[in-house]
Symmetry: C2
Subunit: 410 residues, 2 copies
């Protein structure tokens, strides 16, 4: 007798983590539309729309802006795999967990990786990075824009300009910031950027939008290798001058031939996810980038005011706070995981813990995309107060919500 | 003034390609449900359901059966990256385009790859492969089960048993066959299998279900490397004995720690795609594997009878025909692409062309998953007849549908 599985029926959640966050219902609807074949002209038109909208999102004139078919991490790996040749010297200034991930992936690409470490809760002074560049003469510099593990944001413009002057490729992980905070690819001289869908874009995890300029493309083109299965008798196997890209799935030289007019077969495009991404981008552009950034700032201010009025301490240097993630020090004597668990089970609210040295020390509350709303901010403040009181914390009851409401009234 | 983008409104299609095919409406509905956080206990329960259902699908008792977050190609690369160490000798018997892809990916993993080539339209006698194994003594043998480029299916059991006796890892690409044709992982002694979602499972492209046994796991475990960002002060960096897996995103040693009880953070699971995959698997198990395989055989028979009654010639050796793909020789003097184009524009039907040496020579018609239905088979036969007549082909009008209906009546 076959085991029968329960009907899918997910409980409604208020998701206030640094991602994944709640998905806009219009995006959920887009996911449910019947699919088109990947080479159907109607579908390739949707792919082209998506590229165009991504250029607006990334604030770039780059030719190449398209999603990698995988989670954000796949986008990072696609860019690093394609841009790092074995033996390349790579500088990675690290100020949190996701800087470590850049280091880790660069190492697996065969790079000679130099880490520059910064105490968690801070970011780098641009001059510190520029000095290290002068010492190390790397071929690439890799940095995280918004570090969700610590809730910090790194200023990039001065570093980008220094890299450009010295002919160094500057690669930025903007997974957490894209769509919530300005990411000015061209103005900041970034050669390749990786974004995420499941955070400020409020599209489910599953694609990683990237963009890269012609400086990056030249390095990729020199490593191009025609796939064995696509050679036609008479074709010469391409004699690539530089070491081939080690991944096939994440090979940008092949992917751009698929996203470009050649439409060379590679993977089977994720049709439903593409519907969702296109819809998420359309919604974002209808709202407007500036309006969207201002919305993220407004709800961040209300959340911070509420948390501080409750007597909680925010973690990290406020001068470099990431606007879309607020980190809260877990009060002495309170079991952080018990609080998270009760928030979820009693209030249907999810907030996040953190990683490594911050595990058990802070909570992380996201205000990203569709989750970044007055309703959600007020809901989390009220619930957190109740749960903390339930866990024996002494709080000025009622103050958190009043402080947040005052911000909204201002 | 911002450019405005058209509302998403895909035209209804009858998709009779070898994938992607039409998605079951229940799966589309599942995609549209609000998401859960990736570590929400409700969500991890859905992940566990999915693993259990995948074991039934793969007909295996393997502990590890879970999806890779990417298209089918990412599943292939994850398995090959994790199982092939640089310098490993790998035998790839090739009888179509997707065998070439296995070769290509194995080469990028640093393998010493030996190809065994077979004329397209045929498959290997198991003894040919076993003899090559005896000569080459590879560490791994990689084969495609169902080759959609030529519409052929390779018998695997004897090859699997020979590999097992000689301690060789046997890896099978069952992307095209899983859920439409029996794939008996354990009985056929396959060490690792990669399936596809967008074909006989009728879930959109975006995940690649895989399974592997403890023989494969031992090789993966020996290459395990703890990610830099997950080390806690005091942890020793793991001294892996064997060369580390070159991909981080597609590293099965990390992925199994995420899918297993440790739930170690890796990527952000594709929540909506997981809903879809779980629903697709649930539907498949409710239908029953045997019933589903029989359904695929029934509609294949009707389609073949209809095509032959129209006077068309089927391509390839019938003894090794892949039941879920029927290849048709494009009649002399007919422009294959003009026919495909009219089928799409006038009838909303998509059928496929082929690759490499078969480009312009054959059409490929899929009968997979939700697309594999009497309604669709009859629709494609009627439409193809009309379009061929419109293109000047001399056909016995009306015969195709009558022959197919006769099969359904039998």
């Amino acid at each position: 007798m076959m085991k029968s599985y329960r009907e899918l029926s997910p409980s409604p959640r208020t998701i206030m983590t640094p991602g994944p966050v709640e998905v806009d219902p219009r995006v959920l609807r887009a996911l449910s539309y019947p699919i088109l074949g990947q080479f159907d002209p109607e579908f390739t038109a949707l792919m082209n729309d998506t590229m165009e909208m991504l250029r607006s999102l990334f604030q770039t004139d780059n030719r190449w802006a398209y999603p990698i078919d995988g989670t954000s991490r796949s986008g990072i790996e696609a860019v690093l795999n394609s841009l790092i040749e074995p033996g390349d010297k790579v500088l990675v200034p690290i100020y949190g967990r996701f800087g470590n991930l850049l280091y880790e992936i660069a190492e697996r690409c065969g790079a000679e990786v130099v880490a520059l470490d910064k105490e968690w809760g801070e970011v780098f002074e641009p001059d510190e990075v520029i000095a290290a560049i002068g010492q190390e003469h790397p071929a690439l510099v890799l940095m995280v824009h918004g570090e969700t593990s610590t809730g910090r944001m790194q200023p990039l413009e001065a570093i980008g300009k220094a890299c450009r002057e010295q002919g160094i490729l500057f690669v930025v992980d903007a997974v957490a910031t894209i769509g919530g905070v300005p990411v000015e690819t061209d103005a900041w001289c970034i050669d390749a950027v990786i974004g995420g869908t499941q955070k400020c874009l409020s599209v489910p995890s599953g694609m990683a939008p990237i963009t890269y300029n012609d400086r990056a493309e030249r390095k990729i083109a020199a490593r191009k290798k025609v796939e064995r299965g696509l050679l036609v008798p008479g074709d010469a196997v391409s004699g690539n001058r530089r070491p081939a890209i080690q991944s096939n799935y994440l090979d940008l030289s092949q992917l751009q031939d698929y996203w470009g007019p050649a439409r060379l077969n590679h993977h089977t495009e994720m049709t439903s996810m593409l519907y969702g991404l296109r819809e998420g981008l359309r919604i974002l552009l209808v709202e407007g980038l500036e309006e969207r950034f201002a919305r993220h700032r407004r709800h961040e201010a209300a959340l911070m005011a509420g948390l501080e009025a409750m007597g909680l301490t925010l973690y990290g240097n406020p001068a470099c706070k990431l606007p879309v993630v607020t980190c809260v020090t877990i009060p002495e004597g309170v079991d952080g995981e018990a609080v998270r668990s009760m928030l979820l089970s009693s209030f249907g609210i999810e907030i996040a813990s953190s990683f490594g040295v911050l595990k058990g020390k802070i909570w992380r509350i996201g205000t990203m995309g569709y989750s970044c709303s007055q309703k959600n901010v007020l809901h989390v403040l009220g619930a957190l107060e109740a749960v903390l009181i339930r866990h024996g914390a002494a709080l000025p009851a009622g103050e958190g919500l009043q402080a947040a409401l005052a911000v909204y009234d201002a």
